[in-house]
């Protein structure tokens, strides 16, 4: 097992290297470039352009730029944003807690909803409840996130005026917990409604599979109550694949939910990426891409390892 993890980690290195080269290339071949923001200015001259290219190191050949970047990156010097001149690490550091705060809440809410609903739908398969949940699940899975967010804003923000329209807090009330919670509701609702469906269907399917298995019949024959049966035995076994799904969701804690952050003005990683993308702010984009890709690779590994750990039928070879 330990050797398996080490081997997977070693295998991940060339992958991560390739990812960093490809993302660097994608960024560099994007037309426009970081100086486009200046070029709309009639006072901005060709001399200004050359000067800024030099200041930002954009005049170097691409391989040189890449090597300089990767070298510094590994030494935790991720460079400075072209737009705000802040260190990339600091920019990420400012946004990351906000994203973890939002996505962490979503994560918990989704699990708190998905587990009981998933279990219920499996236990009461083909009941009215099961059908209703299935219908709702499909409805939310089929709604574009941005549209759902806008509808929630129209209904709860604009029409009913129950909840604030965006942001993390009201200026001056940053310490007020109630105020912060009120700001959290709509974005969390948007994301949870879209995500919970997938988890529910997943859990339902694996519960149904477990309930049909031999050991369940044995347990039932032993006279265990249906409640114990479901919670102790079925859920425990059905939860194994869920754990891996949850592990695969972990990178989202970092990556954030770009569209939702955009609609609700949430100062998180998604918006940082969006702002950087529209301004071709390469150092910021490279930093975010590198970290999120690494997290995705690692979470895949974690999922695989957890899966094997929880399910003794899987052997690592």
């Amino acid at each position: 097992m330990g050797r398996y993890v080490v081997r997977r980690l070693i295998q991940a290195l060339p992958l991560l290297f390739a990812i960093s080269v490809v993302s660097f290339a994608i960024l560099k071949f994007t037309p426009g470039g970081p100086l486009a923001a200046y070029e709309g200015n009639p006072d901005f001259t060709e001399a200004d352009r050359l000067r800024l290219e030099k200041a930002f190191g954009l005049d170097q050949p691409l391989p040189v730029q890449y090597l300089a970047w990767i070298g510094n990156f590994l030494r935790l010097d991720w460079g400075y944003s072209f737009a705000s001149h802040q260190p990339v690490l600091q920019l990420i550091g400012e946004r990351l807690p906000n994203t973890i705060y939002l996505m962490g809440t979503v994560f918990v809410v989704v699990l708190l909803l998905a587990i009981p609903i998933g279990v219920m739908t499996a236990v009461k398969q083909y009941s009215v409840f099961d059908h209703a949940v299935t219908g709702a699940t499909f409805a939310f899975l089929s709604t574009p996130t941005f549209w759902l967010g806008l509808l929630l804003i129209i209904v709860f923000g604009l029409q009913l005026r129950w909840l604030p329209l965006g942001g993390m807090s009201t200026p001056g009330l940053e310490q007020d917990i109630g105020d912060r919670v009120r700001h959290l509701i709509l974005p969390v609702m948007t994301l949870s409604l879209v995500q919970v469906g997938g988890h529910v269907r997943y859990l339902r399917a694996s519960m149904l599979e477990t309930i049909g298995q031999d050991f369940m019949r044995t347990a039932r024959a032993k006279g265990l109550s249906e409640r114990v049966l479901v919670l102790r035995h079925a859920l425990k076994n059905a939860a194994i694949p869920l754990v891996t799904i949850v592990a695969l969701d972990l990178p989202e804690l970092f990556v954030g939910a770009l569209v939702t952050e955009q609609i609700f003005g949430w100062p998180g990683m998604g918006r940082l990426f969006w702002d950087a993308a529209t301004r071709s702010d390469y150092p910021v984009l490279q930093g975010i891409l590198a970290v999120s890709s690494t997290l995705i690779v690692l979470s895949n590994l974690v999922a695989d390892v957890l899966y094997g750990y929880l399910d003794p039928r899987i052997r690592f070879s």
Binding site: G32, A37, D43, D48, G265
Partner: protein
């Protein structure tokens, strides 16, 4: 100058971001009555739907940076609503008349006197050394946004603490604002002179200035808080407010909603189509201020090909009768009424505001006249309703910045209107980072000559020379050899050339005004540009926020020291 910068970068940015760009129209904000006693204290919250990436004035390239910085930073002089220069930190505007500006052959010396007793918000005194430092750092720091004006300076003498003599290499007419406003603003030598790289200091988020407020907090992506500057020269009388919070919101739609809900007191920048929503609310006031920006459609008179030969002739638009017909077929007023909700005026020339404004209207909308003009010129309608002449089909492309809602709407109406006079128009939009890149390497179609018709806006500074000379003098047609010019229609007129040259060689305002008028008259007689409409700056506030005044040449936060809150 500063405004031109700000506006155009705003357009560029807004088009690439997810919200519409600012545009212009024609109504009035309601300034508050004069005899009211201001209330002291309180916090005003202003919604901004873009976030300033930096507040450092010499790095910034976003309009929204100015919105915040107007409360914090100042320069030596500024512009009134009427377009007059007035001193801010200086005692007076140096002119030839008062001896402050002296022309020496082809050079110019300007002497600035600082008001005595001025302090930076950290308490250090403001001296003439700061003026010199501002120039030096702008020329030295490789990351500054541009060096307009500063690159014309040969040297600066500081004979005493309060006096700076600026020696220009040329007769630089816009000198009064060279050290004016917020970008560029005066920069504090005592804080920055020892820094090797200002971009890595706290200054980029908390610049120190002399304005009524100072930056207390910069929460990235969330809010920027300004608080009263105790060392402000108007203190303790002004500012009236204790704090101003600039709150980031996701879009102008949300900003309006928060304004209506009373969550914010004011918002920066709304689109024309949003104005009815604000106007119908009795608790809100729309601030619609005519700005110098003019939306135009430029027609390429040379061939539509890369690095076009300025002497080549466009097969369709090379015919002045076609250009006339296009103007006659453009329903300016209808566009303004229906798409701009009345917030604008039909355009007349590149200079709509200030002392050099030229306001002779172009011919009005007349579809019949347009058809007759084309008939007479030999452009006959074919079976599909599209005209042709000598085997050339009247088929053109129309480009603008993609993602700009208003422009896309205007464009779609124009396509229909031109179809009605037998001219086929295809939309061919590109992002502003290409179409307004202003560089040949950036594939700006205007520079290369690869367009037929193109819609964009440009905004002259209060001194129009920096607009008129590069854009309408025939020697500024961009070519492969020299791509720097901005004469995109390839307009060539010896009379206009001569007038523009005369205007640039004197500081006599009457003579200059006359000469610019001649040039613009010639320009309009060539029918190379359809001036669609003069734009307005549109902002909104709650009626509780008072003290605001309109200023065509500055942004709506220009007089925050006079703002106060009153229920």
């Amino acid at each position: 100058m500063k405004r031109a910068l700000a506006l155009i970068s705003a357009l560029a940015f807004a088009a690439s971001a997810c919200a519409p760009a600012p545009t212009g129209g024609g109504a009035t904000g309601a300034p508050t009555g004069p005899a009211e006693a201001p209330v002291r204290g309180g916090t005003a919250i202003v919604a901004i739907w873009q976030e300033p990436s930096t507040l450092a004035p010499h790095y910034a390239n976003q309009t929204v940076t100015d919105i915040v910085n107007y409360g914090v930073l100042e320069g030596l002089a500024e512009t009134t609503n009427e377009g007059e220069y007035v001193p801010t930190l200086a005692t007076r505007i140096p002119t030839v008349g008062n001896g402050g500006a002296v022309v020496k052959g082809t050079k110019l010396d300007v002497t600035w006197e600082l008001k005595p007793g001025l302090k930076w918000s950290d308490g250090a005194p403001v001296t003439s050394a700061d003026i010199k430092f501002t120039w030096e750092i702008t020329m030295k720091d490789p990351k500054v946004n541009n060096r307009t004006g500063f690159s014309e300076i040969e040297s600066i003498d500081t004979p005493n603490e309060l006096t700076a003599v600026v020696h220009y290499k040329s007769i630089y007419a816009p000198y009064p604002l060279n050290f004016g406003g917020t970008s560029p603003a005066l920069m504090p030598k005592h804080l920055l002179e020892k820094e090797a790289d200002i971009s890595k200091t706290e200054y980029v988020r908390k610049p120190i200035g002399t304005g009524p407020f100072k930056v207390a907090d910069f929460k990235a992506g969330d809010s920027i808080t300004l608080e009263k500057n105790p060392n402000y020269r108007g203190a303790p009388d002004k500012p009236y407010l204790d704090k101003i919070v600039f709150k980031s919101v996701p879009s102008s739609e949300v900003a309006i909603a928060q304004l209506k809900a009373g969550e914010v007191h004011a918002m920066w920048n709304l689109t024309e189509s949003q104005t009815p929503e604000v106007e119908k609310e009795p608790k809100l006031a729309l601030q619609a201020v005519p700005g110098p920006s003019v939306e135009r459609m430029e027609l390429n008179t040379a061939k539509n090909e890369e690095f076009t030969d300025p002497n080549s002739v466009h097969p369709v638009l090379g015919d002045i009768e076609v250009r006339k017909a296009i103007l006659y077929a453009t329903p300016k007023q209808q566009l303004i009424d229906k798409l701009l909700f009345g917030k604008g005026k039909p355009g007349t020339s590149p200079v709509s505001q200030g002392w050099a404004a030229y306001r002779e209207p172009q011919e009005a909308y007349d579809q019949k006249k347009a058809n007759e003009t084309l008939d007479k010129a030999g452009w006959a309608k074919g079976g599909d309703g599209i005209r042709s002449k000598g085997g050339v089909r009247a088929s053109l492309t129309l480009a603008t910045t993609s993602g700009n809602q208003l422009r896309e709407r205007v464009q779609q109406v124009l396509v229909d209107e031109y179809k009605a006079i037998g001219i086929e128009v295809k939309i061919q939009n590109q992002p502003s980072s290409v179409i307004l890149s202003g560089s040949c390497t950036g594939k700006d179609p205007r520079k290369l000559g690869t367009f037929d018709m193109l819609i964009y806006a440009s905004s002259p500074g209060i001194d129009p020379h920096s607009t008129i000379f590069p854009r309408y003098h025939s020697k500024n047609i961009p070519t492969r050899a020299d791509c720097s010019g901005q004469n995109y229609t390839r307009f060539k007129d010896p009379v206009a050339d001569k007038a523009i040259e005369e205007a640039g060689a004197t500081l006599d305002q009457d003579k200059r005004k006359q000469a610019y008028a001649t040039a613009m008259k010639q320009l309009n007689a060539a029918y190379v540009i359809v001036w669609l409409y003069d734009r307005q700056d549109l902002d909104a506030r709650s009626v509780e926020l008072r003290g605001w005044k309109a200023n065509t040449w500055q942004r709506f936060t220009w007089n925050t020291e006079d703002w106060y809150l009153k229920k």
